[in-house]
Symmetry: C2
Subunit: 498 residues, 2 copies
């Protein structure tokens, strides 16, 4: 039976990807420098072996044959998603993938080297090459998938998400946020005048911060029997659903930065821990995509972790963990001034939740022009600067490092990924809105640090669904509505308005 053959084959692939995930974690958390060269070699070989097994023609034959077999509706869905993965994996030729991989590696290495100086001129030829190949890739994928080229790129990261749905939502968001940002800044200035913010004055020891992070992880539902928290240079959530490895890094002068990072990664971790175990080796059992994944991390970070109700419970917990000298006599308003700080800036990863979407919309607009060939890479700096001026009133003229050279995505060839960040923020707000409708006591729960009802909803409507529905279908089924900017807009206006 072909379904059974596929099942056995996918178990082998799962073992290889288990190894790849864990080696990745080990590399970031444990590996001494001298182990890097051989590790890179091993990772390259494992990736090759994985690709060889995953794209084998036999797999295609089994998929086709399985469709004619007597399957349950769950098994049918599994076959459908597996075909999607197989198609996305096999629609580029090996020769093209090899050429593209080399161009991406060269460009990313050059970017790492040139970014500190912001040397755009030296970097441009490598980027031009990567963008030319991304256009070619988009055309190849579009042809197989019967999609518009940029949609075909998005499809890798967010199955089912299309420009036709994203563009109007982003347009609404832009129309609202552009005038709202100055209002939020005014409101903040007034609050600060009335109640001057206290700076963080203590040293927050790493041991205490770690214990605090673990307490908060447990509080929002993380299962330490199936995961742990470590330290790495770039925080991430890795591992496998049965063993989720999260990392953070600590700043002894600012406990909030690690804590918010930990809450964010815990959101990713909860999604992984909540996936259905019996389908773990099938595509249908994996997390749905980057937008939904980001909605889970942003739900925990923004909808729970920056919620004023939650901080009624969290402030004493923080004070207890960090010790009596950490935040002496701080009130709820004192801590919220830090948790809700708004400050337009040039760097996307440092942005607050009000200004962040503008960074993403800027990239989304430029990416479409680049992939469609309406804009040439050499014109990126002026386009970037012009949009930054309109969206956030900031200029990146002659500042490539904090402008178009700030992100790794384009240098590494990841076009179609950026929208996920803001789609995630919108979906998180949309889910919080749906939960409040189903469970009006949500904020009362958070005031007691109780996430059980909230997580029960998320488990039922998001985590347990894994990849059984496309992103739009998943969201409509969960919240009763297709993707909308409205819940997010209401959320930021309520939280940051006057």
């Amino acid at each position: 039976m072909s379904f059974a053959k596929l099942d056995a084959h996918l178990k082998k692939l799962e073992a290889l990807s288990h190894a790849q995930s864990m080696l990745g974690v080990d590399e970031a958390v444990m590996m001494p420098d001298g182990g890097g060269e051989k590790r890179a070699e091993a990772m390259g070989s494992l990736a090759g072996l994985y690709h060889e097994l995953a794209s084998a023609p036999q797999v295609g034959e089994w998929l086709a044959a399985a469709e004619a077999e007597d399957l349950s509706s769950e098994q049918r869905t599994a076959i459908r998603e597996q075909k999607r993965s197989y198609l996305n994996l096999t629609c580029l030729s090996s020769a093209f993938v090899e050429k593209q991989t080399q161009a991406r590696i060269r460009s990313e290495q050059l970017w790492r080297q040139l970014r500190p100086e912001g040397d755009w001129t030296a970097f441009l030829p490598a980027l031009e090459n990567v963008i030319a190949l991304a256009r070619e890739e988009a055309a190849l994928r579009a042809d197989v998938l019967k999609l518009a080229p940029y949609d075909a790129l998005i499809e890798q990261f967010d199955p089912g998400s299309r420009m036709a749905e994203i563009t109007p939502v982003f347009a609404e968001l832009k129309a609202v946020l552009t005038p709202f940002i100055p209002r939020a800044l005014d409101a903040q200035a007034k609050r600060n005048a009335k109640h001057p913010p206290k700076p963080f004055a203590a040293r927050f020891s790493i041991d205490r911060q770690k214990a605090l992070g673990e307490t908060m992880m447990k509080a929002v539902g993380f299962d330490f029997r199936h995961g742990r928290l470590d330290v790495s240079h770039h925080p991430f959530c890795g591992g496998v659903p049965t063993d989720v490895r999260m990392t953070t890094r600590y700043d002894e002068s600012d406990f909030l930065s690690a804590l918010m990072g930990v809450l964010h990664e815990t959101g990713h971790g909860l999604y992984e821990q909540g996936l259905p175990k019996q389908w773990s080796h099938w595509s249908v059992g994996a997390a749905r995509g980057m937008a939904v994944h980001e909605s889970q991390s942003l739900f925990v970070e923004k909808q729970i972790g920056r919620n004023p109700a939650f901080w009624q419970w969290a402030l004493p917990v923080v004070q207890q963990h960090l010790g009596p000298d950490a935040l002496p006599g701080w009130s709820h308003a004192d801590i919220m001034a830090h948790v809700h700080k708004v400050k337009p800036g040039l760097i996307r990863v440092d942005a607050d939740e009000v200004t962040y979407p503008m960074h993403v919309i800027l990239r989304y607009e430029l990416e479409q022009d680049l992939i469609a060939g309406r804009m040439q890479p050499r014109h990126i700096p002026e386009a970037w600067d012009a949009k930054m001026m309109v969206y956030l009133g900031l200029s990146t003229k002659d500042n490539m490092k904090d402008g178009p050279m700030q992100d790794v995505h384009w240098p590494s060839g990841a076009f179609g990924y950026f929208p996920s960040y803001t789609l995630g923020a919108l979906l998180a707000a949309q889910q919080a809105d749906a939960i409040r409708r189903a469970h009006p006591a949500m904020d009362d729960d958070l005031r007691r640090g109780d996430v059980s009802a909230i997580n029960a909803w998320r488990r039922e409507h998001i985590w347990s669904k894994a990849s059984s529905l496309s992103t739009p279908d998943l969201i409509t089924a969960a919240t009763g509505h297709p993707l909308s900017a409205r819940p997010f807009i209401d959320h930021v206006m309520q939280r940051y308005g006057d």
Copy 2:
């Protein structure tokens, strides 16, 4: 060219075994409990994939074809060793290996469950099954390898080592140690009467012990750019040559137990770090076998780490790391009373270097009788007790837990492994003897904590040779003599005699 094809194929296998090693380390050091089930599944799949690729008929064809190619003498040696591995890997049928693996797993699980109570009767049927299969395995291997059955088992662990060479050496050792052990105990009693030993009275914090262990590792030559020290329940040396992962466990009332364990594992680690990098994916580039590996760990533990000259340097280092309250006013003689303590006991892994060989000789003798069918498994307890009485004057009557049920080797089907431990001790002494002949200042070096000349000899004669010679040829080439008990006997008589 077949040699090149083999080379590429072996790189893939190296990547898989890199993953297996590192997942093993992660499991012992980092993995939360809940990750175990899926990890076991992944490890099983990876082992299956490895075996499938390593035993593929193509590999046999490439090996045969490569012999006809124009190869350097180094490449010829590589092909010879690779053929040996391939033969050892493929001489059992898949059906036999599967049946044996199941029997071993069942027996080992049963042993873990029954050992605490020492329930021999309940365990015996599983052990009988494992031994019957070991006899069958020995016959199958003997047939392919043209060796005596027990030699064919030893060949897996120690290529080239044979009963014909081991038996007379062990006989000499037994003849000397049996009367020497009481003499060593007398000598110890006299020393203790003259200079009463001081007990360890302080608490030795784990942080300080870890820093001490790392200092000692560096002192004996461990390269922390290519390795690290962590904690696990059972100490081991794992990872890969470019990234050696060592573990220990700490006892806050006895720093010496972790320190000696760390030095022992560092010996294994130095061997791995010293292997020739360019052959890392070929059998010829791997460590020679268990006896030589154990000679490296015992060299560092016994020939360096328990050497009185070394302790002239080490005692102040220990005192500095453990703090002023740790060993206040301790003299060299005070610490040596602990480092050189002799105490006959029932448990092999707790034995000192004088009595340890008797534990191994006992097992070596019983194993030969078991594999040859001269003894039935049900007679093990009486034979064990009889030999223990003769060798160490201790009875294991009605004490199966500390008698024949103490080791994991037989329950897990590892027959032919035990001799390696004592061969390692003999080879370590034989190497130390050769080094002293080449470099008479060896002990003066150790008095200054300087291992550079000692390690230069070991690198040249042992580490860099990897598996290019059989165990006996390696030893003869390195020390000028075949395996001999004499250097070890001289060593213990000098160290523990009166």
